[in-house]
Amino acid sequence: MAGILRDLLRYHAEFRIGAALIAVVLLLSVLASFSPYPPQDVYVVPPDVPPSLTYWFGTTSRGQDVFWQLTFAIRNTLLFGCTVALISRILALVIGLISGYKGGWIDRALMSVNDTFIVIPLLPILVLFYFVMRDRMSWLLLALIMACLGWAYDARLIRSVAMSLKSREFTQSSLFSGMSTREILVQEHLPYVMPIVFSTTMNNMVWSIGLEVTLAVLGFTDINTPTIGGMIYWANQHTAMVAGVWWWIAFPTIAVIMTFIGLFLLAVSMNDYIDPRSRLRSFGGAS
């Protein structure tokens, strides 16, 4: 693991930039624990103060310090992305591995459902979900439903790898040595698909955070829990751009773009690393 990280750091400029961006974002989210103000409180500092030495990122029209508010927002947003990614990874792994290994009608049935979930437009469905839940909408509930809708694409990816693993000799020998399907999948096949699982985690986080920001900007989430989208929502509610309180929108925007580009670059460089052909090329090019 440490060796892989060293290689990635040494040979991939993309990985270095991505890791640096994510490190900054993570640092911000850790700082949330040291915030002098609770995240829900309003009018704890003078409102509408531009960025200064006292208030690094300025203050909002609701009397909150943008910097500390941002740390909470980033933390919650990342937590949200991780939760969605974790649950949808489990779904994608189970469905992808079973579908690829079993084949036959199980595979066809699972993949038909899978393809359906790939194309169904999620935003209207999530909006409908918010419409019926209204005030009971919490970020955990949203994370759960998004995980249930967002596993399909990666399940297909995992299935294609599982299919090629099935025809390898070691699968036959473990089958003949009396291992059950579950044992073969967990002990033999799982290690081979883990790299893909890691790289798709990043993409999945970009997807879920983007969707959460979209919903939050429209006010279709639990707007009282500070997230990046929630911050922009409140800024819009107080017409921050028109009032000239640009820092209220600018800093969350910069933070979310940093997160996105960081996660994306990490995913790209990991994909490069997984593919032996491009790994050779990048090593050869760098030395």
Partner: protein, 356 residues
Amino acid sequence: MASLGQPVASVRTPRSGILGTPMSGYFAYIGRRLAQFVLVVFIGINLAYVITHATPIDPVEQSISAVTSFGNTAPDAIEQMRTSLRELYGLGGSPVEQYLAFWKRILRADFGPSMSAFPTPVATLIGRALPWTAGLLAVSTIVAWGLGSLLGGLAGYYQKSRGLKLMGVIAMGLHPIPYYILALVLLIVFGFLWPVLPITGGSAMNLPQTLTFDFVASVLQHAILPALSLILIGVGSWFLGMRALVSNVVTEDYVVYAELAGVRPWRVLSLYVMRNALPPQLTGLAISLGGIFNGAVITEKVFGYPGVGSLLVDAVYAGDYGLVLGVTTVSILGVSCGVLVIDLLYPLLDPRVRVS
């Protein structure tokens, strides 16, 4: 989408007559795609049903509280509204009856009168908004896909070119940016800093919506910014996808052979390389159709475009249950129709599906 996991193979030209019975293979393919289409619609509508019926919250009471919160309503009027809503959404009777009533309404495209624009039927409202969204999405999607695939193909083929490398960096930086942020930036730049383009609405208010030159010109002018925000985000991912595909294809033996045999470069690029890299891009286009709706809702809201996305958001704010359900259903139908069309076009580009 059955061909999602397939590698880019080196089948070159379609000569369907030679390989077995191509037509029956084609019909089997069409049949499978139609079955998939039915399944998408079925699961999508069921999802909507489950969400609206299996939640602990009574949607009728929700709608009523949303409507009555705007002002004082007489108690008997509320009671009337409650009965009509219960009938409208089939909340009476056993679960099986409810389920069948739900499907009946969907199949007849009958979502009752809209509550926020009473008494206009929901179907009329959606019908009015649909051409705007369909037009905006169709044009911007095709432009983004075409431009991204073309540039990405060039970048994959001419890997040494500086300009194309720079474009790759820009595409990489642009495409993870959320729609909303980009739309907002465009709004600020072209609306306030350099006000040359209209920033809201679908056409100028004072023009009658008939097919005159003024109206069409105004529609096009109003569509520039929303379309631009969708295209800028879209081009990036198509560019990156196509570049990756093409840089795999160019290492294939038959490409090297063609180059050595002195086939003209543009011919190698277009017929040997691009053509074989396109099918996965087309599959990607089908997959992304569902996601396009996410962008469209935000874009339409930011630019005040009179499409289905604005309708959906306004319906939620107004507590209009029938309209929200109607838009959700129509978007599921619309996206699955779009996917079906792409699936049916697929054999034209990839002859393998006709014989498999």
